[in-house]
């Protein structure tokens, strides 16, 4: 405790102060309100089963009162318990209200007594446990444990099917290649554009777009389709760039293109 408390003026009698100090000095040692109640109940010097909860509630409230006088900050849960005990005290003192269907004062008091008894029982159990012979203090393990060597034996498995598949794999490897678009029969837009940009300079008047298809791309239908599409797309690009004009007489009529006069 701090010096402050020792310097308390003689507002309280020496006797009272000593009694208060006995509690206050220990206040840090209490593990919460239940522990404090258990401690207080010992002053009744009776079997916990016969402890007077009413008297205990009064003791607790007196303790809290004293702590307040000594201007000791009590943690919130101590105050909550004080409020609850004040409520319990009134319940125990007043005759039961028949319209109230909540638990009676006696029931609440019995439960508190049970909690105190249980806490004490657990304290005793803990003490008995710690009083037992303990490993590393009273009895000991083997000092030179022998290492169990763990050998791991690995066996490999393979079936005839695995073998056949593996062999098949090696034999088909040559023909296997990663999937790529087969580009043999594809004329790309870039290729068409490059070709047309070169040719357009020599085309003074309207020319059919079909005549711009590269050699060797007109016979095979696959190649012709790809080349036509690419060339058409390229012509749109060129028109967009303002280098050529495009016209078509009617639906499905041949498309014709012409270099714009001022375009290079």
């Amino acid at each position: 405790m701090t010096d402050e408390q020792w310097d308390q003026p003689a507002r309280v009698s020496v006797e009272e102060r000593l009694a208060a100090e006995a509690l206050i000095v220990d206040v840090d040692g209490f593990e919460g309100p239940l522990d404090l109640l258990l401690q207080l109940s010992r002053t009744q010097k009776v079997d916990l089963r016969k402890v007077s909860i009413l008297a205990l509630a009064e003791q607790y409230l007196a303790f809290v009162e004293q702590a307040k006088k000594l201007r000791i900050e009590l943690a919130a849960d101590y105050l909550v318990m004080a409020a609850w005990l004040a409520f319990l005290k009134s319940r125990l003192l007043l005759p039961p209200d028949p319209t109230d269907d909540g638990p009676s004062g006696e029931e609440l008091a019995a439960h508190l007594a049970f909690q105190l008894e249980r806490l004490e029982a657990m304290r005793n159990a803990a003490a008995q446990l710690m009083a037992r012979d303990q490993l590393g203090r009273d009895f000991f393990v083997r000092g030179i444990p022998e290492v169990v060597t763990r050998s791991r034996k690995v066996t490999y498995s393979a079936t005839l099917i695995d073998l056949m598949q593996a062999y098949a794999r090696t034999r088909t490897k040559d023909e296997f290649r990663p999937f790529v678009m087969d580009r043999d029969s594809v004329l790309t837009l870039e290729q068409a554009l490059e070709r047309m940009s070169g040719l357009i300079r020599f085309a003074g008047d309207w020319t059919e777009l079909a005549s711009y298809l590269p050699d060797g791309w007109t016979l095979d239908p696959k190649r012709r389709r790809s080349a036509t599409a690419a060339t058409f797309a390229a012509s749109l690009e060129l028109a967009k760039a303002g280098k050529i004009e495009i016209r078509q007489g009617e639906t499905f009529a041949p498309i014709q293109i012409k270099r714009k006069p001022d375009a290079i």
Binding site: P103, D133, G136, G143, E146
Partner: protein
């Protein structure tokens, strides 16, 4: 090398397809295995290491008898077995004594509550102690390997439970959780029941209570 008089129980062997070693040899083997390790060894693990057809429980029983009153003892730790020095000879072992961290009162009480009430939720521990349990306390007990997580409770929020471990039993020289000091008295006095405060909303509900009761039986069925 073997002691012929030890092979007194031939019944088990005759029925086995594989010839198990005579009981005297089995006992020697169990003895060697238990001596070689500091950790308790389960019967199951003994069987994986012993030759086929051995009867580890029978060998353990004989071995335990053989070491009665000796400087070391064959002890049961939960489902496992170990050899430990006789507790009355601890005074000879100053050199081996392990300085254990002094446990706080909160830690000791929390440990006792977990051991006696297992499986127990954090809320229940707090209800019994009347204060909140700090994270550090449970962490410490888990770190010491005296406490571990148990099954989740089948109640709203499915809170995790805590149970005591085999190391806990080993450390306190307990054969099983049933042998906790004063356990039967506590149970008889109703102090291990979870009793909700009157009139309060009971988070465990009646269902939870059944389960708690069941769990406590679990513990003793092990």
């Amino acid at each position: 090398m073997t002691e012929p008089n030890e092979a007194t129980e031939p019944e088990a062997e005759t029925e086995s397809l594989f010839e198990a070693p005579p009981m005297g040899d089995q006992e020697r083997m169990v003895e060697a295995i238990l001596f070689a390790t500091a950790e308790p060894i389960t019967v199951r693990e003994l069987h994986t290491r012993l030759p086929h057809g051995c009867d580890a429980p029978a060998a353990l029983e004989q071995l335990q008898k053989r070491y009665e009153g000796r400087g070391v003892a064959v002890v049961k730790v939960g489902e496992a077995w170990a050899i430990r020095t006789a507790p009355d000879l601890g005074f000879l072992m100053q050199k081996e004594t392990v300085e254990t961290r002094k446990l706080s009162r909160a830690a000791i009480e929390t440990l006792a509550i977990i051991a006696y009430h297992q499986p127990v939720t954090r809320a229940e521990i707090e209800e019994i102690r009347g204060v909140s349990v700090s994270r550090g306390t449970l962490d410490l007990l888990i770190e010491l390997e005296w406490v571990k997580f148990g099954r989740r409770r089948m109640t709203p929020g499915r809170p995790v439970t805590f149970v005591a471990t085999q190391s806990f039993l080993d450390h306190f020289g307990l054969e099983s959780a049933r042998d906790l000091p004063g356990l039967s008295d506590l149970r008889a006095a109703g102090l291990l029941e979870s009793r909700p405060p009157p009139g309060s909303f009971d988070p465990n509900g009646s269902e939870g209570e059944d389960e708690a009761a069941e769990d406590q039986t679990d513990m003793f069925e092990e």
